[in-house]
């Protein structure tokens, strides 16, 4: 399988690898995929009080394209509002990395991951807000 130069770059030098504390209320965690399918992505975002993503971290079990898709995503979401980050489309990722058709699902998984991370953050924020109100 021949990979594009951007995929290889992200694979060789993945950006923002690591983990945040899941329990931290400023952290949103998205875990998508399944070992059975050959890829699992964990994407975490740290969100400030203005609703802007300050930092992102990822860990991915999967092929080079899956690793590159999640690595790229952590770069893209940094500095974006939750709305902006949630609007990132898998096609943008696939295009940027020049993924071949059989690897499109890797970009779909990355889109699912950021959506899941945002949903997790909002769920936690909602709960802590109502806790503050009470």
């Amino acid at each position: 399988m021949a990979y594009g130069t951007k995929v290889l770059d992200h694979y060789e030098n993945p950006r923002n690898v690591g983990s945040f504390d899941k329990a931290d209320p400023t952290i949103g965690t998205g875990m998508v995929g399944a070992p059975a399918c050959g890829d699992v992505m964990k994407l975490q975002i740290r969100v400030n009080s203005e609703g802007v993503i300050e930092e992102a971290r990822f860990k991915t079990y999967g092929c080079g394209s899956a690793i590159a898709s999640s690595s790229l995503l952590t770069e893209w979401v940094k500095g974006k509002t939750l709305e902006e980050a949630g609007a990132i489309k898998n096609t943008d990722i696939a295009e940027e990395l020049a993924l071949p058709p059989v690897k499109i699902h890797c970009s779909v998984l990355a889109e699912d991951a950021i959506k899941a991370a945002i949903a997790d953050y909002r769920k936690k924020a909602g709960r802590s807000d109502s806790a503050n109100a009470a």
Binding site: V17, V32, A34, V40, T60, Y61, G62, C63, V102, A116
Partner: protein, 404 residues
């Protein structure tokens, strides 16, 4: 050291220089370029003589009579000729065939085709070590079973099936026994009489011969009949028409002759290298050998590195030429059907690498491979959320995965 290091000898082997040199003498005007079927002049006679010497050399490796060797284009064609040829010839006797789920696609897809033609096929599950259970095989046989096909050595995990035990079950019932020996000839002793096979598929390019040539052993005593699948000039006693590729055939003959001479010493050397590789990897956590280690050819090591996906590992190991049981490159995303048939879970099947070593592999190659694997496995596990969960003591089977 030449890189990438070639560790994919079960995919194909380089042609041995001694074989290539022999082949070159059967191509050009100053060589023996004649058609072996030409009866009217010396060009034909010389070519025929070379073909018959090669036939004798191939037969000798498997302890067969040269008259029992039919040239084909390779093991895939041999498998097709054996299965379709026997099924078509004996279909009035019965229309049931038994094979195994871990067979090569040349067997499985041919069996599927026979199913489309109205035959019924039983696909046996192997045991977790990759070997066929004799009781299960016996239980699958029916009064209308005409043919059983079980490969000698598996291409992915290198396990050796007990063909002699299988033939003991089949012989009294008069069931034809075929075996694909593409991965065993030249690696372990193959004696068609001792193994009790009726049909045996052979390939040249797995044994340091050229691609595009193979053979099918067809037993004469008791005689096994086949319906031809390729019609034409009636070559190969009517079983496989087509002008014989003299240079390919002498290549296969020379490769098999060398294999017979060097097999014992080579097997010993390869066992040593395989053990060196296994020892070198044994201090890595969560490493699993796929397939039985004892009943296995010397040159094969199939290993799952848990929590690391196979394709990304291959990418990390670009200095090594190896193959993976993970099929993320195909649209199906299905991991190796062989490893799945052993009952390996999806993570392990997706995390497997097949190392196959051969005639030109050195101890330095293995040493380098071990060092590289330690480094890359560590790096990829740092990237793996599954490894992190494992280290946190989370049971991955208890996780509700969002399958996609």
């Amino acid at each position: 050291m030449r890189k990438p290091i070639y560790l994919d000898y079960s995919a194909t082997t380089p042609v041995d220089p001694r074989v290539a040199e022999t082949m070159c003498r059967y191509l050009t005007l100053d060589g023996e370029f004649g058609n072996p079927a030409s009866r009217s002049h010396a060009f034909g006679w010389q070519a025929e003589k070379a073909v018959e010497q090669a036939r004798a050399d191939v037969a000798a490796l498997i302890h067969a009579d040269p008259k029992e060797i039919v040239w084909t284009s390779g093991a895939t064609e041999s498998d097709n000729l054996a299965l379709k040829g026997a099924a078509h010839f004996y279909q009035n006797k019965g229309r049931h065939i038994v094979t195994v789920k871990t067979e090569h696609k040349a067997i499985l897809d041919t069996a599927r085709q026979l199913e489309r033609e109205g035959f019924s096929v039983t696909y046996l599950d192997p045991e977790p070590n990759g070997l066929v259970d004799m009781a299960k095989l016996e239980a699958a046989l029916r009064p209308d079973t005409i043919l059983v096909s079980v490969m000698h050595v598996n291409n992915e995990i290198g396990v050796i099936q007990d063909l002699a035990a299988i033939s003991k079950i089949l012989r009294p019932r008069g069931i034809i026994f075929h075996s694909d020996a593409a991965q065993s000839a030249g690696k372990v002793e193959v004696d068609v009489a001792a193994l009790g096979v009726d049909l045996l598929s052979l390939s040249a390019h797995k044994v340091y011969g050229p691609k595009g040539i193979g053979a099918l052993y067809v037993r004469r005593k008791p005689r096994v009949r086949l319906e031809a699948q390729m019609h034409g000039g009636g070559h190969e006693r009517g079983m496989r028409s087509g002008t014989l590729a003299t240079h390919q055939i002498v290549g296969m003959g020379e490769a098999f002759r060398l294999a017979r001479e060097e097999m014992v010493s080579e097997a010993k050397r390869l066992s040593g290298l395989r053990d060196q590789l296994l020892r070198g990897l044994s201090d890595i956590e969560e490493v699993y050998v796929n397939g039985d280690l004892e009943h296995r050819i010397p040159g094969n090591l199939n290993i799952s590195f848990n929590f690391v996906e196979g394709e990304s590992l291959i990418m990390a190991l670009k200095e090594l030429a190896v193959s993976s049981g993970s099929a993320c490159t195909s649209a199906s995303l299905e991991p190796s059907y062989v490893l799945r048939a052993l009952g390996r879970n999806d993570e392990l099947a997706h995390s497997s690498i097949r190392f196959t070593i051969g005639r030109f592999t050195t101890a330095e190659d293995i040493e380098y491979t071990v060092r590289l694997l330690h480094e890359k496995i560590g790096r990829l596990r740092e990237l793996s959320p599954l490894w992190e969960m494992y280290k946190d003591g989370i049971d991955l089977n208890s996780v509700q995965w969002a399958a996609h």
